[in-house]
Amino acid sequence: MLTLAIESSCDDTAAAVMNDNRLLASLRSGQEDIHSRFGGVVPELASREHLRAVQPLTEATLQEAGVSLADIELIAATRGPGLVGSLLVGFSFAKSISYVTGIPFVCVDHLAGHILSAFLNETGPDFPCVSLTVSGGTSAIYLAESFTRFRCLGRTRDDAAGEAFDKVAKLLGLPYPGGPQVSKLATEGNPAAFKFPRSWLGDSFDFSFSGLKTSVLNRVNRFRQKGEEVPVNDICASFEAAVVEVLTVKTLKAALKNEVKDITIGGGVSANLALRESLARECTKNGIKFHAPQLAFCTDNAAMIALAGQHQFAENGACENLLDTDVYSRSPLGQ
């Protein structure tokens, strides 16, 4: 089924064309150069940029796929979670195309997209699988039973993992986007230099990264109090080690408890090399297959929305109350 997907939940506007399992085109408009001047994602700017990008980007995507709008059989768009102003641009644009052309429309949850992004690989996982979804707005572990059935096993109680990276970057005075910068400096540092706390929360699959952030702050302030230089690389490496260990151990435990044979990851933080290596190593030890999406499909993209949308259409059909269906900032899948 020839599917056009539009995604605009945060930084990037993205569009993709997919025909069943074959991805024909997937494009993205990066906006980091604009955001970096403001030290963070500026929502109003974001929605303005989406507005400017969405139509030319969609046309370019159709062109790259070698199809025209008249060939499209299904339109999918991200309904949430995310910044409402940004979501509205892509969602309304996609809805209007559907309304005018009569092409069936499906709404896709952004998190469903991330959960399924490893299925864009040539060899996808088998169901049921455990999926770790980690980004700036989300940290959660899901049990995926099918392409449309997801059970949230645990989620963050305070900060998302990606947010913890960004906040540590900020308190170290690193430029936006801080998360990837922390990972980069971590490769030059000693992960055992500082023993930052791991928040296990008993047997729960929930996460908490707020205490870790405070611990890093205390450590940095101690150096500043003593007038010493802050060993930024060692702090980054030790912080990253703490996050990676908690994410790895909890995901593995969730897989073993639910007796699944496959683990997947998704979301912006799933591009983190230390996390990928750690999960791959532990999965091998435990006889579990590990599936990480290609780097281009870790961050927000429309290919995952096309994939999720096709399966949702096959299972539940098209969205019925097109004009009355609105975006949401918070996902029913849990954030």
Binding site: C10, F38, G39, G40, V41, V42, P43, E44, P81, G82, L83, V84, G85, G136, G137, R155, T156, R157, D158, D159, A160, E163, K167, K170, L171, K195, D206, S210, K213, T214, S215, L217, N218, R219, N221, R222, Q225, S329, R330, Q335
Partner: protein, 170 residues
């Protein structure tokens, strides 16, 4: 009024008291550096307002606004990433200030021009005079309280509640 919060528990007690005293229409602005305890205080405030414990109050930094059901709805904002009042208005956030809920606003500077004058501003300051030991923690905070909540005798009741839990003034 300046309060001395000796540890994390006292930050949580302060949040709890504010949550118990808050009514629909109250605006609480939270100022303080990263890691000063703004989200921790809001989590305790939510419990005081009757938000269910398993309805986690997570950081609104990414989403800008998170809503929770309590005795009155809790609207938890983080305006760190917004530029100015025009953006607060355009995004429709200012409507929430008059929507019959309790608004807790982190990094409220961008909303300054849109905020109703009757509000409470709480500034959490990391007490840098306390030297941090190796592997040590410094969760000691100074809380500066300005303004008021809608409760008629707010200041009097607030002080009584602080006395009960032995939070000290500076």
């Amino acid at each position: 009024m300046r309060l001395k919060l000796k540890n994390l528990q006292e930050t949580q007690l302060l949040g709890r008291i504010l949550g118990e005293l808050a009514v629909a229409g109250d605006i609480i602005c939270l100022e303080g550096d990263l890691g000063a305890g703004k989200t921790t205080l809001t989590q305790a405030l939510a419990l005081g307002l009757g938000v269910e414990e398993d309805n986690y109050v997570t950081s609104p930094s990414f989403a800008i606004l998170q809503e929770y059901e309590g005795r009155a709805p809790l609207y938890h904002f983080d305006f760190y990433r917004l530029g100015d009042s025009a953006e607060v208005e355009e995004q429709g956030f200012s409507e929430y200030f008059f929507a019959g809920g309790v608004c807790v606003i982190e990094w409220p500077q961008a909303a300054e021009a849109s905020l109703p004058p009757e509000r409470l501003t709480l500034t959490l300051i990391i007490d840098m005079d306390i030297p941090i030991e190796e592997d040590g923690e410094n969760n000691s905070r100074i809380a500066q309280v300005e303004g008021t909540l809608k409760e008629k005798d707010f200041l009097k009741i607030f002080q009584q509640r602080l006395d009960i839990v032995s939070i000290s003034y500076i």
